[in-house]
C-alpha cells in the first residue's frame, strides 16, 4: 500500500480514519475499523478495565501507572492527529520568511489592499469550495459562486480562442480533470471556476488554481481585490533569515555527516533577536512551533525546514514517562520478590 501511495495517504486512509473502506460499485463499504475508531474503543476498554479489574492498592501501583500512561498516550495520539499542523519553508541564503506553507492543504485568499497600513486578507479553506454553492463571508461585501471545483486538474494553454473563464488568465487556458495523486512526491493542483458578484449576477467567471502563480485582479464595485489559491500558510511569531547552510560529508567520501542551517530570529514581541543553529537531531523549539532541518536545495545554498505546530507535543513525553515508571516499578517489585523467594 505504502509503496503505491506514499505514507501521508496511508496514514490518512488507515490510521486517521473511523473505517477502512473498500469501494464496491461506487459505494464505500467499511471492511475494517480504522485507527481512530480502534483507538477510541481501546481508550474506553482500558479505562473501564483499569477501574474494574485492577484493585487499587500499593501492590498494583506499577500496573495502575502503566494503564494510566497508555490511556494518556492514546488520548494524546488522537488529539495530536487533530491539532498538528505540518508545513515547510524553503529559504535561500540571506532570504527572510515569516510563514511556512502546508504540503497538502490549500486555501482561497481574497486580498484587499485599499488600506495604506495593512492588507486585509480573507482566507477560505479549500474545502468550502463545493460546486454550485454560494459563499458569503462577513468580511466580504460580495458573494462568491463556485461554478465548478476539481481536486486535481491539469491546465494547458488553449489553442482555440476560447478558454474556460471569461476573466483573467483563465481566458487563455483549458483544463483537464485528473485523478488526485496519492504518492508523497506529487502535489495536487486544486482548481476552481468561480464568479464574484455583489448583486446575484454570476455571469462572469474566473479560473483559480494552485498552479497559477501570483494573484489575479478583480474589480467589484470599483474596488480592486486580488485573489489566489495558494498553500495554506502557517505564520511565525517572528521573522526568520537564513544566514548560511552547510552540508558536511565524511572526509574522502559522499556520505553525508551533517546538514545545518544557521538562522537568525527576529521576534515580533519585545524579546531579543538571536541566531540559532538548526541541524540534524537538533530542532529549534519556539513555543508550540518546532523547526527541523528537512532537506536542502541543490543549485543554490538553500535550506528546507520542516515546521510543525503542535499544541500537544508533550503528551507522548508525559505518558511515556508514566508508563516507563510503572513498568519499572512493577518489574523490579516482582524481581525482588522472586529473588527473595528463591533465597
Amino acid at each position: 500500500m505504502q509503496i503505491e501511495h506514499g505514507i501521508f495517504y496511508v496514514q490518512k486512509e488507515y490510521f486517521h480514519s473511523l473505517f477502512i473502506t473498500l469501494p464496491v460499485n461506487g459505494l464505500l463499504i467499511p471492511v475494517f475499523p480504522g485507527g481512530t475508531l480502534l483507538g477510541a474503543v481501546l481508550v474506553v476498554n482500558l479505562t473501564l478495565s483499569t477501574l474494574i479489574k485492577i484493585s487499587f492498592n500499593l501492590k498494583n501501583a506499577g500496573l495502575i501507572l502503566i494503564h494510566l500512561g497508555v490511556i494518556i498516550l492514546l488520548i494524546g495520539g488522537g488529539l495530536s492527529s487533530c491539532v498538528v499542523v505540518e508545513s515547510q519553508v524553503y529559504l535561500e541564503e540571506n532570504e527572510t520568511a515569516f510563514y511556512s506553507e502546508h504540503l497538502y492543504d490549500t486555501e482561497l485568499v481574497i486580498i484587499d489592499t485599499s488600506s495604506s497600513r495593512f492588507d486585509h486578507i480573507t482566507a477560505l479553506p479549500i474545502s468550502m469550495l463545493k460546486p454550485n454553492t454560494i459563499i458569503s463571508h462577513d468580511d466580504l461585501p460580495f458573494n462568491i459562486r463556485v461554478l465548478n471545483f476539481y481536486k486535481n486538474a491539469q491546465l494547458s494553454i488553449t489553442k482555440m480562442s476560447e478558454g474556460v473563464a471569461s476573466l483573467g488568465i483563465g481566458t487563455a487556458l483549458t483544463l483537464n480533470e485528473v485523478k488526485p495523486f496519492t504518492a508523497d512526491d506529487k502535489r495536487n493542483n486544486p482548481t476552481a471556476l468561480v464568479s464574484f458578484s455583489e448583486s446575484n449576477d454570476f455571469s462572469e467567471s474566473l479560473l483559480l488554481a494552485l498552479d497559477i502563480n501570483g494573484t489575479q485582479k478583480i474589480q467589484i464595485n470599483n474596488k480592486t481585490y486580488y485573489v489566489q489559491i495558494r498553500p495554506k500558510r502557517l505564520y511565525f511569531p517572528f521573522e526568520m533569515t537564513l544566514k548560511s547552510f552547510t552540508h558536511d560529508v565524511y572526509p574522502g567520501s559522499d556520505i553525508p555527516k551533517n546538514y545545518s542551517s544557521l538562522v537568525s530570529i527576529k521576534p515580533y514581541d519585545t524579546s531579543a533577536e538571536r541566531d540559532v543553529l538548526i541541524y540534524m537531531n537538533h530542532p529549534l523549539r519556539y513555543g508550540y512551533y518546532t523547526f527541523y532541518q528537512a532537506s536542502f536545495g541543490e543549485d543554490v545554498p538553500s535550506s528546507v525546514l520542516q515546521v510543525v505546530y503542535n499544541k500537544s507535543w508533550y503528551f507522548p513525553y508525559i505518558s511515556s514517562l508514566i508508563i516507563s515508571l510503572g513498568l519499572g516499578i512493577h518489574f523490579f517489585v516482582h524481581l525482588f520478590k522472586f529473588l527473595r523467594k528463591r533465597s
Binding site: I7, F15, P251, G252, K257, N281, H282, V308, W313, L327
Partner: protein, 602 residues
C-alpha cells in the same frame, strides 16, 4: 572443524611472534598502514579485506594474503590479473562470454575483453522497471569490475611503468612545464615545436591527474603540514596536482609509497621492508591520535574474534549434546568453561569494536545481530546461574551461533564499520534507543528459544513437571524483561523521531514493527493473567514471538518501502520465510502432540 581450529592457532602464533621472517615482504606492516576510504581511516588490511569481499564475496584468496593481493592490484602485478576473483553464478552469463563452465570464479584477464560490453549493458538497463535476475547479475558483475578498475587507478593506470618511475619522470617535468606554461600564457604562443610538444604532454598529465583526483576514492596521503587532519588527505591524482603549486612541499608518504612500488617490482624485499619501516615510523609519529585504533583494528580484522566465538559455540553445542546422551558431568563442566570463554571473547570483541569506532555497540544491522546474540546469551547465563537446569549453555551456544552466522552473512553486504548517515549520527540516541530496543529483541528470542526447548523435551518425553514449571517461570520472566525494554526502546525511538523529524509517531514500518513486539509481549502477559493460556500456551505463543521479532527486525527492511530490496535481501527473505515456517511447524507440532499441563494454582 579441527583444521580451522589449527589454522586459528597457527594464525595466533604467527601474529604473536615478534620477528617476522626476514626473507619476505613485510606484509604485516603494510597491512597496518592507514587508508582513508568511505570517510573512515582504516588499516590497509581491513580495506583490502573489504575490497576482496566486495569483489570475490569471500575475504580470502589462496595464493597470497589479502594485503598482498590488494597491493598487487594497486601496482598492476601480472600475477594479480590471473587471480580468480570474479564470482559468476549465472550460467547464462558464463555462456554468453564463453567462459569455462566448470568454474565459478574468473580472473580479470579472462574478463578483460568483455568489460566494455558488460559496462555498457549494465548502463542500458531501465531502472524504472524491476530488474530481472540476469540483469541484476550483470549489474553486480559490472559493479565488481568497476571497483576493481577503480582500485587499479589508485596509483597509475599503466601496466608497463612503475609508480616510482612515473612520479620521478613527472617531478622532473613539473618545473620546465610550469615555465613553458607561464610563457605561453604571457605571450600567447611558444616558438619552438619541441616546447609546444612538451607543454602539450604536460597538459595531458594535468588532465589525467584531474580525472584521477575526481575518480579515485582511495585516500593514501596525509597533508605534510597537518597529517592528522583527515579533511586534507589526498588521493594520488590530487597529490600530483598539488605539485603544480610553487610552494609545494614534497610529501614523504607519497615518496615512500613510490619507492615501495619500485622495490616490489625489483623483487628487493630488504629495501622494501626498510622503506616500509621508515613509512611506518612517519605514520606513528605524525598520526599518533589514530595509531592505537588502527593497530587495534588490524588485530581485530586479522584475528576475526567473532569467528572464533562461532567455532566455540558449535563446539559447546556438540559437547552438550554428548552430555545429554552420556550424562557425563565433566562434559557439562567443560561446556561451562568454554561458554564463559566464548562469551568473554564475544564481550571483548564488542568492546574492541566500540573503541575502534568510538560508538555504542549497535550502529547497523550487522552489529545488531552481534549484540542481540550477546544479550540473549547474557540473560541465558544469568538464568542458568539461578535455575541450574543444565540447559543454559546449550541454549547460549545455539543463540550465539545463530546470531553470529546471521551477522556473518550481513557482513558480506558492506563495511561493518561504515560511517553513519547524518540522521543516525548521534551517539546519545544510538546508545539509548538502539540498545534498549535490541535488549528487547534479544529477550524475545531467548523466550522463544526456551519455549523451543520445552517443545523438544516434552515431545521426547524427557521433561518432568518440575522442569516444565521452571521453564515456564523462565519464559515469563524473560517476557516481562522484553516488554520492559522494548517499550522503553520504542518510546525512546519516538522521542528521537520527534527530535529529528518533528513527529513522535508516524506509522513507519520500522516503528510499527517495534510496536508489534510491545503489543505482542503485553498480549501474552494479559492472556496469562486472564487464565486464557497456561504453561503450554505461554510456550507456544513465545515461539510465535520469534516470528514477530524476526519480522520487525529484518522483515520490515524487506518490505521494499524506500529500500532497494534486491541482492542479499532477496535471498534473506527466503531464509526469513523458511525460519517463520519452521517456527509455525514447531507451534503446530507442540499444539497437537504435547499434553496440556494442568492449570496452575494461583
Amino acid at each position: 572443524m579441527i583444521t580451522s581450529c589449527l589454522r586459528l592457532i597457527i594464525a595466533v602464533l604467527i601474529l604473536l611472534s615478534p620477528v617476522s621472517l626476514a626473507s619476505e615482504y613485510n606484509m604485516t606492516d603494510l597491512g597496518k598502514l592507514p587508508v582513508l576510504y568511505n570517510g573512515r581511516l582504516q588499516p590497509f588490511e581491513s580495506f583490502s579485506r573489504q575490497m576482496l569481499l566486495n569483489i570475490r564475496e569471500k575475504s580470502t584468496l589462496e595464493r597470497v594474503s589479502t594485503t598482498q593481493w590488494l597491493w598487487e592490484v594497486l601496482i598492476h602485478s601480472k600475477e594479480s590479473y590471473q587471480d580468480e576473483l570474479f564470482l559468476i553464478h549465472d550460467v547464462d552469463i558464463r555462456h554468453e562470454f564463453k567462459l569455462d563452465d566448470s568454474r565459478k570464479f574468473f580472473s580479470y584477464q579472462e574478463l578483460e575483453p568483455y568489460i566494455m560490453h558488460i559496462q555498457s549493458k549494465s548502463l542500458g538497463f531501465d531502472t524504472n522497471e524491476p530488474l530481472t535476475v540476469y540483469e541484476q547479475n550483470i549489474n553486480q558483475l559490472a559493479n565488481k569490475l568497476g571497483l576493481y578498475i577503480a582500485l587499479m587507478h589508485s596509483f597509475i593506470p599503466f601496466d608497463d611503468i612503475t609508480f616510482y618511475d612515473y612520479v620521478t619522470a613527472y617531478e622532473g617535468r613539473v618545473k620546465n612545464g610550469l615555465t613553458l606554461f607561464n610563457q605561453y600564457n604571457k605571450t600567447g604562443s611558444l616558438s619552438s615545436k619541441k616546447d609546444q610538444l612538451y607543454l602539450l604532454e604536460f597538459n595531458q598529465d594535468f588532465k589525467r591527474h584531474r580525472q584521477f583526483s575526481d575518480l579515485s576514492r582511495v585516500y593514501l596521503f596525509p597533508d605534510p603540514k597537518t597529517p592528522a587532519n583527515l579533511e586534507l588527505w589526498s588521493n594520488t591524482g590530487s597529490e600530483l596536482l598539488k605539485q603544480l603549486d610553487f610552494n609545494y612541499q614534497k610529501n614523504p608518504v607519497l615518496a615512500d609509497y613510490a619507492r615501495l612500488t619500485h622495490y616490489y617490482a625489483e623483487g628487493d624485499f630488504n629495501q622494501f621492508n626498510q622503506t616500509l619501516k621508515s613509512l611506518t615510523g612517519y605514520i606513528n609519529q605524525h598520526l599518533s591520535p589514530f595509531t592505537f585504533k588502527l593497530k587495534l583494528e588490524y588485530y581485530f580484522t586479522t584475528l576475526n574474534p567473532f569467528y572464533i566465538c562461532m567455532v566455540l559455540y558449535v563446539l559447546i553445542m556438540i559437547l552438550m549434546l554428548f552430555f545429554y546422551l552420556l550424562d557425563a558431568s565433566y562434559l557439562y563442566r567443560i561446556s561451562a568453561y568454554l561458554c564463559y570463554t566464548a562469551f568473554g571473547i564475544h564481550t571483548l570483541s564488542l568492546i574492541a569494536r566500540m573503541i575502534i569506532l568510538g560508538r555504542p555497540p549497535v550502529i547497523n544491522l550487522y552489529s545488531s545481530a552481534v549484540f542481540v546474540g550477546w544479550v540473549a546469551i547474557a540473560l541465558c547465563l544469568v538464568q542458568e546461574k539461578i535455575f541450574k537446569n543444565k540447559l543454559g549453555y546449550f541454549m547460549s551456544a545455539i543463540l550465539g551461533f545463530m546470531t553470529l552466522i546471521i551477522a556473518h552473512h550481513l557482513a558480506l553486504q558492506s563495511d561493518t564499520m561504515e560511517q553513519m548517515q547524518a540522521v543516525l549520527d548521534s551517539n546519545f540516541w544510538l546508545s539509548t534507543h538502539v540498545i534498549t530496543i535490541t535488549l528487547g529483541y534479544g529477550g524475545t528470542f531467548l523466550a522463544g528459544m526456551i519455549a523451543t526447548c520445552y517443545v523438544v523435551m516434552n515431545s521426547l518425553k524427557k521433561a518432568s513437571q518440575k522442569l516444565n514449571l521452571e521453564l515456564y517461570k523462565m519464559v515469563y520472566a524473560i517476557i516481562c524483561f522484553s516488554l520492559f525494554f522494548s517499550f522503553i526502546g520504542t518510546v525512546l525511538g519516538g522521542i528521537w523521531a520527534d527530535q529529528s523529524w518533528g513527529r513522535f509517531w508516524g506509522w513507519d514500518p520500522k516503528e510499527n514493527g517495534a510496536l508489534l513486539i510491545v503489543i505482542f509481549n503485553a498480549m501474552i502477559l494479559h492472556a496469562r493473567l486472564a487464565g486464557m493460556i497456561h504453561i503450554k500456551g505461554l510456550m507456544l505463543w513465545s515461539i510465535f514471538g520469534n516470528i514477530v521479532t524476526a519480522f520487525s527486525w529484518f522483515g520490515v527492511n524487506m518490505l521494499g518501502v524506500g529500500l532497494h530490496s534486491y541482492g542479499f535481501m532477496n535471498e534473506a527473505f527466503q531464509w526469513l520465510m523458511l525460519y517463520n515456517a519452521s517456527q509455525l511447524l514447531l507451534i503446530v507440532f507442540g499444539f497437537n502432540f504435547i499434553k496440556s499441563n494442568p492449570p496452575l494454582k494461583k
